[in-house]
Symmetry: C2
Subunit: 195 residues, 2 copies
């Protein structure tokens, strides 16, 4: 089972919420907007979720689940550092492209979470990026990567990966795997062919 199971109606609500939160932003989407898109009254949503905040939290949290599930097995594998990082990048981009709306919300709307969820979000996200960071550190220790600050390098990688959510199209020229591999190529081997 990929991610925690949920009733049919609840996941319909999530799907619509992800789409609208992505399109207009969390704050610019009213509970009535969500209800309209679902063909119900605003108050009826509260039979399924206790608050608007809970919907946002559920979206963010399930998306985090997807990310962890995708890269954990690779991170724990015995692969060579460079191959490991490449595979993690491809897997990470895969999650984004398979969950475009949810990941856009994950990356852009988390700051509107109410406390203490906002803190919980930050902790999960830091833990996740820590997995990438550990691999980068290993690469530096192995003298495989340039000795830039490991946090700096990791952030640079993450930003290049995460930005894909703004422009990826399922019907675009590049497949998710191609994007992941190109990104890994640029980030690991550099844009310049010969120095």
């Amino acid at each position: 089972m990929a991610v925690k199971a949920i009733s049919e109606r609840k996941s319909q609500i999530l799907l619509v919420s992800e789409a609208l939160f992505n399109q207009r932003g969390y704050m610019a989407t009213s509970v009535r907007d969500l209800a309209d898109a679902l063909g119900m009254e605003a108050a009826s949503l509260y039979s399924h979720y206790k608050s608007k905040d809970e919907i946002l939290w559920t979206i963010a949290n399930r998306c985090a689940d997807e990310f962890f599930e995708a890269i954990s097995p690779i991170a724990e594998s015995g692969l060579h550092t460079q191959k490991k990082l490449t595979d993690m990048i491809v897997a990470h981009v895969g999650v984004i492209t398979r969950n475009i709306d949810a990941s856009a919300v994950f990356f852009r709307e988390w700051r509107h979470l109410a406390e203490p969820r906002r803190v919980a979000y930050a902790e999960r996200r830091n833990a996740y990026e820590g997995i990438f960071r550990a691999v980068v550190r290993k690469g530096i220790e192995e003298n495989l990567f340039k000795n830039y600050d490991e946090g700096f390098s990791t952030r640079t990688i993450m930003s290049a990966l995460n930005w894909t959510h703004t422009w990826y199209r399922a019907d675009g020229e590049l497949s998710s795997e191609e994007i992941g591999e190109h990104l890994a190529g640029i980030l690991l081997n550099g844009l310049v062919r010969t120095v």
Copy 2:
């Protein structure tokens, strides 16, 4: 004169708005929040700006001015492609670090602009990124850069640069120039020392 001049009070309002829009987001910041932070009444803001939207627009537009002013002379210079791109990257990061709040609003809050400003924003931003894109294309034509799709490479560069607004601290370890040069190093020469 760097950017279009403005009355003292108007730029105070902009400064406060940039900070709050960055911290809480445009939609989560009410006109009364701005007024409170400025020590005035909400209605008084309308002596200076016609609407909340106009404030957002002014922030975004002046930030765009800064970006264009910083890189245009470099783009129009006769520098060698690789050096030109490096200098543009450093200059771009410089604008971000010198205008942290404004650039955060520029990157994150533009989608809340009302039409037709939103379209106007998109056009300016496309024009700006087009300047980077042209240099990337030249590098590919010169066989200097790998033959990835030019749009793809440009987006990857821009995303790595623009993300700096989320973590840069004036009192951090790295100066703006160092960040720009490291980024140029990673993006142009790659993270890997030897292939």
